[in-house]
Symmetry: C2
Subunit: 279 residues, 2 copies
């Protein structure tokens, strides 16, 4: 670690770090989060944090699941915050580890404010967000200069577990040429229908990426019209990211992970067509 370790912050007794674990591949963990794993007395982790990441915790570290998954409302959020406060007050070095990034649909802000109210000191350790890094493992860039200069990230369910309310779907559909939906599987039929009803093309490319960046990663390429039935027919397993837009076509050229297994990449995956720029 040499000169890096001197620049890394140390996780101290009575502190909580709210850290992102990235999409799943342990190699996408940040140095700072890794340093936290090597120092923590307790790691309180979400279901989306992979075993490969947890295996990096120091010997003797207690691993506590705070797991919740899928579209269900989460009566336990207050319990999780309470537990973090309790552990910190016991003088533990607490690493709160979330999939992806704690500030991207991760409720990091809520937990941090609970710590502020309790007077517990904390640090935010950003992570690689799954909607960016996970899609990169599927060979899909969320932006590409010929295709889009804007991208929108949406969560597939809101605080009640439903499709997010209060959003202007007409504006979202017209706004960014690329839309990435987190935790998209449960409400994919409704979400695709809304985008279609507000003018996105039925033939628009869609990719459904299950267990992104993990060895079990599976990618379904589809269209906006067919994605919900394709997800069902091919038994897509959560967690899933869904990306809507012409960038999906780039996968034919950029699937570097597939190339490691022999896939021949296409040098011109957009086929000379100009990418779709909404406007």
């Amino acid at each position: 670690m040499e000169n890096l370790s001197t620049s890394l912050a140390d996780l101290e007794s009575g502190w909580v770090w709210l850290a992102g674990a990235g999409p799943g591949d342990p190699g996408l963990l940040t140095m700072q989060a890794w340093h936290g794993l090597r120092q923590a007395d307790v790691v309180v982790y979400d279901a989306l944090v992979g075993e490969g990441v947890l295996a990096l915790a120091r010997t003797g570290c207690v691993l506590e699941s705070a797991g919740k998954r899928g579209g269900k409302p989460s009566p336990k959020q207050a319990d999780i915050s309470h537990r973090l406060i309790q552990l910190a007050r016991e003088g533990k070095r607490v690493l709160r580890l979330k999939g992806g990034d704690p500030f991207v649909f991760g409720r990091g802000g809520e937990e941090a404010l609970a710590l502020v109210r309790a007077g517990v000191p904390f640090r935010i350790v950003p992570g690689v967000s799954s909607g960016i890094g996970g899609l990169a493992y599927a060979g899909i860039p969320v932006t590409h200069r010929e295709v889009n200069s804007a991208v929108t990230f949406i969560t597939g369910h809101d605080m009640t577990g439903d499709v997010p309310g209060g959003l202007d779907w007409a504006a979202l559909a017209r706004g960014a040429p690329v839309i990435v939906i987190y935790m998209a599987l449960a409400h994919l039929p409704q979400i695709a229908a809304r985008l279609l009803s507000h003018g996105r093309a039925p033939a628009e490319p869609v990719a459904i990426v299950s267990k992104a960046s993990l060895p079990e990663q599976k990618v379904i390429e589809s269209t906006l019209a067919a994605c919900a039935s394709d997800a069902l027919a091919q038994a897509a397993e959560p967690p899933c990211l869904v990306v809507v837009g012409e960038v999906v076509r780039l996968r034919a050229g950029l699937d570097w992970l597939g190339a490691l297994s022999g896939r021949v990449l296409e040098p011109d995956p957009l086929g000379g067509r100009q990418g779709r720029e909404v406007g």
Copy 2:
């Protein structure tokens, strides 16, 4: 490194890794990118990659700047791709290091496709995107459950160096309650004017974050109406991220970096108000 090093991929001779360096703080480098820095013969880096990150390269590694900065068009993109191909064909282990994430306004896809055309094998190493991790160092979450279930990322200039054309600014303004603009400084007056003319409130909170996550980080809190003049008056230095939306108010409670220097955090920064959910 123990059990992690066995799971990290090795950078091999004749390969190019297109890697993200994160917002600037070396602690936000991923393990995989760090591993690449320890193995590379040549690092071809952008201007936005910090010295603290480059200092982690192995002794004897050649550091080559491919720098370009600000809103200028980039006639050199083809030259950069050509150089990567040349180095790979010389049998070098090449780490192409970009600020943030290579697939978020980073032209990683373009460079990768050039490698595909040349038959050069490559790997994508995602990084912490500055618009997420950099803002976290300013205490600003890009999503917060009471405020937004969608966020849009926009680049402040397109391939010509102008404000991105072809975007439906009316839809973008109405679509996501939070908008993050990368490389926003040069065209901030025009961008703010477009959002205002399409209905965003003049008093809407805006933060301008200069040199995010670096020791020189500076945050200007403003409003949509005043941000362009405030950036000028306070001599904001590029690179700057700009974030528009109610999440900016959370900084009063979540500025953990400020708290390290004695700032007292507010436990209820949204003041009991419901966050703005556009719709």
